[in-house]
Each structure stands twice: as C-alpha cells, then as structure tokens.
Symmetry: C3
Subunit: 318 residues, 3 copies
C-alpha cells in the first residue's frame, strides 16, 4: 500500500496534486476508489469516463475525460507508468516469516517435494517429489500434484484435481511496455491463477497468472500436454483442450468447448459454449453462436474448410 | 485383482450373473480370460465376436454378439463403466513398503535427485538433480537422466539413453468418458511407457503412458524438444522427430520415419518405414508405401505441395 | 586436449601422418590452428580452402582443397568421424572436485534449489526450489531463477534476468550423424548458451546449447511460454517471441524482431532487425530488409496474405 504521492515519487513521475492511499493497480472497468488505473488505448475512452478508480494515468489529451471522483495523473506514456508502478505491488516470492506449510489429514508429501512457508495442502492429497507449492498457494482435498510441477505463490488448485508432471501454474503473463527506443519494461503480473475442482492438466502445461485478478480454469476442465494459457484467460466448465494448443491473454471459452490439437486463439476473444474446433484451428474472432464446429486458419465452419480443401487441390490441375 | 461381482458392486453396476476373477482391463483384441473389456463403438463388432476376454461391458443391443466363453455385462454406457472400473486398477504412485532404490555399480546419483522406493537404476548411469525415478520404474545401463526429468512409476528407460531436462515419461494418456451432461470421468491409464536402448529425448518432451499395455519408443529414436507423444503410440527404430511435433494416441510410426518440426499426427494411424514429412505436416491418414516425402495440411506429397503453393500464389493476380 | 594421432586411434580412424595437439572441434570458418574441423557438404568448399583449422576430416576427393597449413584426414564420412570425435571433448556434467557453489551477497537460495559444485550465483538473486544451476554455469546479479528451471553446465545467465519455471537452458542441440543403415551417432554439443542481461523467459522454454561456440539470447529479449530455440541461434536485442514459437538451429534474428505465436523458423536463416511476423508464420528464407510485416506459410507480406485469404475463400463459390 502506498500514498499516491509517494508512489509517484518512487517512479519519478512529477506530481503535485491531491493524494489517496493506493492498495493495488487495476483495469478501468474493475478499479475501486483505492486503486490506480490507466488509459493507453483511446478506444476504451468510455471505460475512462465511467471508471470508479481512485486515480488514473492518462495522456494530456485524455485528461478532460477523467471523472471528477478520480485523480488524473498526466504522463506521456500511461502504460509505461503503469509498468513502473506494477513493480511496487509485486507480491513476494518467498516469506521466511510465514508459518510452516499446513498439510491436511491423510495427505502424502513425498520426500523431495517443496512446500513453501505459507502454503496450504488439503486432505488426502499426494504431492510428488520435486513439486513446488509456493507461498500463499493452496491445493484442495484429494488432489495429486505430480513430480516437478511448479505452483507459484498465491495460486489456487481446487479439490479432486490432477496436475501432471512439470506443469507450471502461475508464471508471469507476457506483459511489458516498450519505449520508443524499443526497450521493454516489465509489467509485473500481480494477479493469480485459480484452478477449480475436478480439473486434470497434462504434462508440461503452462498457465500464466493474471496481471490483475485471476486466470481461471473452471470446474471439470481437461487439458492434454504442452498447452499454453495466457494471463487473464477463462476456460469454461468441462472444456477439453488437446495437446500443444495455445490460448492468448484474456480470451474466454464457454463451457464444454472442445479444442483440437495445435490450435491457437488470439487474445481478448469470447467463445460460445459447446463450440468445437478441429485440430490446428486458428481463432482470431469471437464466436457467439453455440454448438458449431470450426476449423482452418483463417477459421471457418469445418465443413466449409473441408470443401475448400477440395477446391484448392483442384488448382493443381489448372 | 477383483471378483467380478465385487468389482461391479464397487462401481454401482447392477449384476447377478456368474463371477470370475478380474486381474486387469484390456482391449477386446488383447484381453485374456482373466481380463475385463468393453465395446463402445459398433464398428469394432468383429473384435467383440472373436474376443477372448473373460467379461465385457456391452449395450443391450450388442449382447448377442458376445462369445459364449465371455460374460456379457449389459450397461447403458460401456466406456463410462470402463472408466469407473479403471480407477480400481490404477497402480500406486508410491509404496513405502517397497525396497530402497537399487543403483548399479558406477552410477552417479546427484544430490537432489529423487529415487522412489522400488525404483531401479542400472550401471554407469548419471541421474541429475531434481530428476525423479518413480516406483517400479527402471533405467538401463550407461543412461543419463537430466535435471528435473519426471519418470513415472512402472516406466522403463533402456540402456545408453539420454533424457534431457524437464522431460516427462509416463504421464497419464488423455482419456475420459463424457456423460450426456458433458461431465468427464477419468479413464485411468494403467499401462506404461517403454523406451528402448540408445534413445535420446530432447528437453520438455512429454510421453504419455498407455491406457493398457505400453507406449513404446523403439531403439535408436531421436526426439528434439517439446514433443508430445500420446498414449499407446509406437515410434519405430531410428525415427527422428523435430521440435514441437505431436503424435496423437495409438499412432504407430515405422522405422526411420523423419518428422519435420511442428508436425502433427492424428490418432490411430500407421505410417510406413522411411517416410519423410516436411515441417508442419498434418497427417490424418495412414501411409502404406515406404520412402515417400509428404508435406502440408491436408497432407500431400511434398512436391505436389510445393507446386500447389505456386498455383495458390497466382490467385493474388486473379 | 588430445594428440591428433591418439584421437584418431580412439575413434578407429587409420592414420600415419603428422600430429598436432587438438584442443577442440570447430567449424571450418572459425577453427584455429589447434582445432579439428570437417567438410561434409561440398557447397562449403571455399571455407575449406580458406580454413585456418589445424586439421580437417575430408573425403578423398576433397583432399586437394585442403590448405597446406592444415592436416587432411581422409575418411569416408567426415560428419560421422566428427560425431565420434565429439564425444572425446564432451564437458563433464558434474565435477566433485570443483569448489562449492559461490553465492553473492543478498542472494536467496531457497531450500530445495540445487547448486552444483563449480556454479556461481551473483548478488541479490533468488533461486527457487528445484531450480538447478549446473557445474561452471553462472547467474548474474538481481536475477530470478524460478522453480524447477534447469540451467546446464557452463551456461551463462546475465544480470536482471527472470527465467520462469521449468525452462531449460543448455540442453543438447539436435545433432547426429546417420549411417547408411539408418543408425544415428550423437554429435556431442560442446558449446553453451549465453543469456545476456535483462532477458525474461517464460515457462517451459527450451534453449539448446551450441555444438561449437554459443547459442546467444541478447540483451532485453522477451520470450513467452513453451518456445524452442535450437543450437547456435542468436536472438537479437529486445526481440519478442510469443508462445509456442520455434527457431531451428543457427538462425539469427536481428534486434526488435517480433514473432507471433506458433511461428517457426527454418535453420540457418538471417532476419533483419525490426521485422514483424504474424502468428503462425512459417519462415524458410532469410529476410534482408528491415521493418516489414510477414505472415503465412509459405511466408509473404502480411497484407498479401490477408488479400490471398480473401481470394482463396472465393474458391468456395467457384
């Protein structure tokens, strides 16, 4: 928690306006009166006008759109200012003053498993050798965390889950601000990952923690091996992802979506429940109607894609 | 091992017929008289008619095709019944009553390596820090298991092998039965992985254990990094797979098959020996003739694919 | 270090010419007078003619192109001879006689982290549980090595770096000589990986060590999750690679190259600075002009690819 004036001093932003106590960073649409937000892309100007944030980084020309209950902090590059500020709110990886890990009745913590101080494991779990449960992370009841899994700090795995070997839950999302000179400044990812109950993740899966809030894998999801899930994604109940697929940041899949192997989703999409994707689908637009089957890249209905391939093959004879 | 009547009680299947002792689950074509099998897809009806299984889960309408030496257990959803039963046969991850790991002469077990009770390491091996050798798993002579490799229980690595860091051998294959409500029930993967002699696997490779029997990586195979091999696959002698390729379940490659990077195989295919695939090949049909080179998705002979790309590019001028 | 005559005896190459002391293997263009090289592919004959290597493996018909200051060792298969010789120069994985790991002031080595003898960690670093720092490997100041990362022997991570969980730095590049019978002999990868300052790598990334010299990730690079970088690659300053991309061996990207997700580069390419690639680009040729944006496979300018997709879609109506 920082006084706004102190925070701005720490990141070298000149400021002599009023102060508030800032407890976190957040998006324009989710920020509370004790949070600091930003507007980088003018297409979100409506979110600026209706924000309930305590303060916002904005460029000079956007200043007039900041609501009266919100403090405007004028900077040249709001996203860069956010990146600098994000470091101040980064949660600690380790905390030697935290209590010893709490382990529920009936759980087996194999020799060689690493439970950080301040971690919690429920009842009847098995934590295999080399698995790491971070500070403030928790595992529900009856879950199995296989060898060499990395569960980062403050991330949550539900009950009745199986996380296969060498998967990573809670690594930093891919975020940075880039200067005009092409240099990158890290946007610290201060959210977490929440994996709900009855989820099974294959081996070598990587799920990034949210920049704010949570990346969420909902109840009953099944993932195969080597899948990438970006920050702030939401994977709907009972959805199934086949090996080597990737979902870019902030994309939300509805329930029972089935994703064929090596498919990829662009960021910031919404996919209707019960949608099916053939292997290697490349999804760059939201899908609003449920129950259809798509394929190809660019994406089209799978039966269209099959027809199109026949037409394309005919070119060989032309 | 279970009495059939006991087993069916445990999974809530009503039954009042004769009993046998069931020692495992298996496919219709491989099951012995002491094994339980199932028919889900009617296209395998011939396998049902000729099965030597002791008992089978079948739907009412398939009952008459069960041979007289096999007990028919009528259920609504045979695959779901199998999934429930599979949990009963799941091998233990750990066994505190097993003997201490056996390590052959001349082997170096680095500090921080984790050898489960009941594991075996041959002569002149090196097991690096963070590597995990599971219960009942074994490593042959002169092999190197790099740091943070996970070798699951009951899996086998041969002699003269090199397994690079953070690879996973023996994670569960991707199998589950889905109810009409869209909920998934795990099909426990009770087989293993066998890696024969003189195999080198890159970093971050994941090889799933078989549902029944073995996933098999044959002698002399070379795999690059981040490759996915599904359950029950067989990769032929001296085959070469380049980075980020994936092979779906039950597909069998002959010897000296060469697979370009980011290629993908659908499941249940057979590929003739000495077949070559260009990078990003998408293979959805079996290949019966040896020695050809393919590419593209849909797959075609590579020289056709190259020609086709020229034709496609001409469309830009149309 | 070996006397040439001794080395050739060890790998069963008949030879009765003069000897030199050989301290390493190297390419024709980089080899010094105390190094042994090879010519396999006749298209590099000019490199043979101008080499400063002390000795070279060549076929009989190339012998006359060997400069007078270089010893010609005539063999049937120079690459196979090199592979056999490479084993003799393979650096040790572990060295019990090396000094204890050196750790700089202010660094936190979490319980369960594995620092090999002969490793070095700078100041104010955090090394998380299960991370492995190999013999002769080093980490600069202020860097974070997350849980279950594998940093192989003799590899270098700079200052102000973040390596996310389960990434692998320094696994062997994918190299082997194949006999006429289709059997593979490993080409030991005796180089290393150098990661310069201010680099962040995502989770599950794999970066292979060089066969000779270094694979190099330059200052300020950002990589997302599950990316593969082959041996001897060079990734230019501030370049950005999105998830599940792959770069094959010896390819060099200039500075501030941006690579969309699931893209792939063939080997031995050079890419001009400030080039952008859309997701799933497939790059098989070098790019010499800076500042353009490409996409597709085969690769073309992204705006062309977008136009082409419109033309292709029209085929459906033909």
């Amino acid at each position: 928690m920082y006084e706004l004036t102190e925070l701005l001093q720490l990141i070298d932003v000149p400021y002599d306006g009023p102060s508030i106590t800032v407890s976190a960073l957040n998006t324009l649409s989710d920020a509370h009166s004790y949070e600091l937000s930003f507007l980088q892309n003018k297409k979100y100007i409506d979110q600026l006008r209706s924000t309930t944030a305590g303060a916002v980084f904005v460029t000079e020309d956007m200043k007039e759109n900041v609501p009266s209950h919100t403090i405007a902090i004028v900077v040249e590059d709001p996203y860069m200012a956010l990146a600098y500020a994000s470091k101040l709110f980064a949660p600690a990886l380790l905390d030697e003053s935290a209590p010893e890990a709490v382990v529920g009745e009936g759980s087996v913590i194999a020799e060689g498993a690493n439970l950080a101080k301040g971690s919690v494991v429920g009842k009847n779990c098995t934590i295999m050798p080399g698995a790491y449960i971070g500070r403030g992370a928790s595992v529900g009841d009856n879950s199995i965390i296989h060898s060499n899994v990395s569960l980062y700090h403050e991330c949550v795995v539900g009950s009745d889950c199986i996380i296969h070997a060498n998967s990573v839950i809670g690594s930093d999302g891919f975020g940075f601000a880039t200067s005009k000179q092409g240099e990158h400044t890290k946007l610290y990812q201060n959210g977490n990952v929440v994996i709900e109950d009855d989820v099974e993740l294959g081996a070598g899966v990587t799920i990034d923690r949210a920049v704010f809030g949570s990346t969420r894998i909902k109840k009953g999801v099944r993932m195969d091996n080597l899948i990438h899930i970006g920050h702030n994604c939401e994977i709907g109940e009972y959805s199934v992802l086949v090996a080597q697929s990737g979902v870019a940041g902030s994309t939300k899949l509805g329930r029972n979506v089935v994703v064929g192997g090596q498919s990829a989703f662009a960021g910031h999409l919404e996919v209707a429940p019960f949608t099916n994707f053939a292997a290697r689908s490349g999804i760059t637009k939201s899908i609003t109607e449920s129950g259809k089957t798509f394929g190809g890249f660019p994406l089209m209905e799978q039966k269209q894609w099959l027809k199109l391939q026949v037409k394309i093959a005919r070119l060989l004879k032309s």
